[in-house]
């Protein structure tokens, strides 16, 4: 099998928590392969394990058992530092609650990942500006989060996720805190990013949002219920 296009390859991963001495499986025996330029939705009701799966895919957490290869590198062998580097260079997070730093301007927020990757000031300033322009915030560059609307904040968050040109964008309920009109605009932004060749993983419990992806994985009780191609992809 050709693995050159594979970004994420996980096999039989489980995450187990101890609760009152009893082992509780958040996810159990999940195997997945995610290729370049896929637009994947992870669906499921709350408690289905989708947050746990997202945290593991995003290298924020490590599985209790099972294998995880990210672009051919074994995540289980990595230190905290290595994982931080993977998150910095390869993964762009977009959260439901935006998670911007409230006291920093849009530009500063977008620049932050580049500071941690050690880029020079002049360079990172230019890249961060261009990324903000790309997401349609040319006139909001020096605004602070509290001076921006919800949709604009999420655009800043998307710019921050994009700024290091990561291998995957991991979006956790990106429209959950937005009104439906703004939500549609954000989904359109994701669609455009996907068209440009980005790989997107969308975590959601809303069927309508999930339908924007071209592949949908449904979780239930920590197990993969269905993994199917979406033939009715919605395009905003």
């Amino acid at each position: 099998m050709d693995k050159s296009n594979t970004i994420i390859d996980i096999g039989n991963i489980s995450k187990v928590y101890e609760m009152g001495g009893e082992p509780v499986y958040a996810i159990r025996d999940i195997s997945l392969e995610i290729k370049k330029n896929e637009y994947l939705a992870i669906m499921g009701p709350s408690g289905s394990g989708k947050s746990t799966l997202m945290n593991i895919l995003g290298c924020l957490d490590t599985p209790t058992t099972g294998r995880y290869f990210f672009k051919g590198n074994d995540i289980n062998d990595m230190t905290d530092n290595d994982l931080a580097e993977i998150r910095n260079r390869e993964i762009g997070f977009v959260f439901q609650t935006f998670n911007l730093l409230p006291r920093s301007s849009a530009l500063k927020n977008v620049e932050l990942p580049l500071i941690y990757s050690g880029m020079k000031k002049s360079e990172r300033d230019e890249i961060a500006r261009n990324t903000l322009i790309d997401v349609g915030l040319a006139d909001r560059i020096s605004h602070k989060p509290n001076e921006l609307s919800g949709g604009q904040r999420q655009r800043v968050a998307v710019a921050r996720a994009l700024v290091t040109s990561p291998s995957i964008i991991l979006a956790d309920e990106p429209t959950g805190n937005l009104d439906s009109k703004t939500g549609v605009e954000i989904m359109h932004l994701f669609y455009e990013l996907w068209k440009k060749g980005n790989t997107i993983i969308l975590v959601t419990h809303e069927e309508e949002i999930a339908l924007h992806a071209n592949r949908i994985i449904r979780l239930r009780d920590g197990l993969v219920e269905r993994d199917e191609i979406n033939h009715h992809q919605r395009i905003e």
């Binding site: 945290n55 995003g58 924020l60 957490d61 905290d80 530092n81 931080a84 580097e85 998150r87 910095n88 260079r89 997070f93 959260f95 998670n99 911007l100 730093l101 006291r103 932050l112 990942p113 500071i115 941690y116 990757s117 050690g118 880029m119 020079k120 000031k121 921050r160 290091t164």
Partner: protein
């Protein structure tokens, strides 16, 4: 790469202090006080050193004063009190018999004299009976007129040389030379004024009036007990040992001390001043160090506490930073820098407060307490460096544990924190 993160940390620390001004100030108060102690202590010690240097230069480094009293307080007062006075004949005999010294001459003092000029009375001046040789040592350098001569000595001339402060007291706005003052009912002609030489321990020299010893003995011919001093100039520091040994041997003989008996006189040298200042120095250190350590402990606890609060408040932010790629050491650095910066700001405040305090104190206090005139109104800039280094060190120490806690936060838990 680390520089970019470091700059970022400094900015964050600055923002953090700016947005929590009062809280930061209260947290840094212990450090402000601690640094203030260090600065003030250093300032006093430096003043003492300066004063000692001045005193030694004033006396000359080759002077020995054989006296009943021990100037540095090296012997217990009781023992010194029981010593017999050094009589005029003993002092004179020693002065004559000294061969190793360049000069040796007897001296006597009378404290708290009443001196009159016209109808005004002046008290608190010291009359020193001495010989013409006093005019040849640094203490007797005149700026105006002349010191008395061997002739004046021999004939007991009724002449007087004024210390600079004595001159200012008696003749604030007029020339003193040629005027006649009244000392204990005797009319004395002012023939000279000695240059100003006051430093903390020696400032009484400026309130002295010098008269020939022969005149002194006439004026104060009462039989009240009086102990004389023998002033000896070694000429060279390397000759001090010889002079000391000779003087000791001769004086033991003159005072009929048995072999093995303790000396009932003291040989005071400039190094005795050193001993005096060293005692004072230990005293200042003892008090200062104790208080400094105490306030630094309080300071460290204050800073550590506020850093724990800061870490807790910013758990979510730490989670976000970790999610976008901050390494543990980046987070560790961020909080240590913040803690060090907070302490540094505290130290700068302490420096400014102390500068103002020192200026005010050194300007005002000597007007009321002349003994404090050794204090300098200018804060030495070295203290800025000391304060910076100490405060940053304290900040790192205080910030380390909270920063470690922040660095070790689990990103998933931190992101979930509200």
């Amino acid at each position: 790469m680390i520089i970019a993160e470091f700059n970022e940390s400094i900015k964050l620390a600055y923002d953090s202090i700016k947005s929590n001004k009062l809280r930061s100030f209260l947290a840094a108060l212990g450090v402000v006080i601690g640094i203030s102690f260090v600065i003030l202590m250093g300032w006093v010690l430096q003043g003492l050193d300066k004063t000692m240097e001045d005193s030694i230069n004033l006396m000359g480094q080759d002077m020995i004063y054989l006296d009943k009293w021990d100037w540095a307080g090296g012997h217990t007062n009781k023992k010194v009190d029981q010593r017999k006075d050094i009589s005029y004949s003993q002092a004179k005999e020693l002065s004559k018999r000294m061969t190793q010294s360049v000069m040796a001459f007897p001296q006597a003092w009378k404290w708290n004299n009443q001196i009159k000029y016209k109808n005004e009375k002046f008290s608190g001046l010291i009359v020193q009976g001495t010989t013409y040789e006093n005019g040849l040592i640094p203490e007797g350098t005149v700026t105006d007129g002349r010191f008395f001569t061997q002739m004046d000595d021999q004939f007991g001339s009724k002449v007087v040389v004024l210390g600079s402060k004595a001159k200012e007291t008696i003749f604030p706005n007029e020339d003193a030379i040629g005027k006649t003052i009244d000392v204990n009912g005797h009319k004395l002609l002012v023939i000279g004024v000695v240059k100003k030489q006051g430093t903390m321990m020696m400032d009484f020299v400026d309130t002295k009036v010098y008269i020939p010893l022969s005149a002194f003995l006439q004026i104060y011919n009462d039989q009240r007990r009086r102990s004389f001093t023998v002033v000896m100039k070694a000429g060279d520091q390397t000759n001090l040992d010889n002079v000391r040994e000779e003087a000791k041997g001769l004086m033991r003989e003159i005072r009929n001390l048995k072999p093995g008996e303790d000396e009932d006189f003291s040989l005071n040298e400039t190094k005795n001043f050193q001993a005096f200042v060293d005692n004072l120095r230990i005293y200042v250190w003892g008090v200062g160090i104790g208080m400094t350590i105490l306030s630094f402990i309080v300071g460290i606890i204050g800073i550590m506490n506020i850093m724990f609060v800061s870490v807790a408040e910013r758990t979510k932010e730490i989670g976000i930073r970790k999610a976008i790629g901050a390494k543990n050491r980046s987070i560790l650095m961020q909080f240590i820098v913040e803690s060090a910066f907070l302490c540094f700001v505290g130290a700068m405040m302490a420096y400014i407060i102390c500068s103002i305090f020192i200026f005010a104190l050194a300007t005002i206090l000597p007007k009321f307490v002349p003994q404090t005139s050794f204090l300098s109104p200018v804060m030495p800039y070295e203290f800025l460096i000391i304060a910076s280094v100490v405060s940053i060190f304290v900040g790192i120490l205080a910030g380390f544990i909270p920063a470690l806690r922040a660095a070790k936060l689990d990103p998933v838990d931190a992101l979930r924190y509200e």
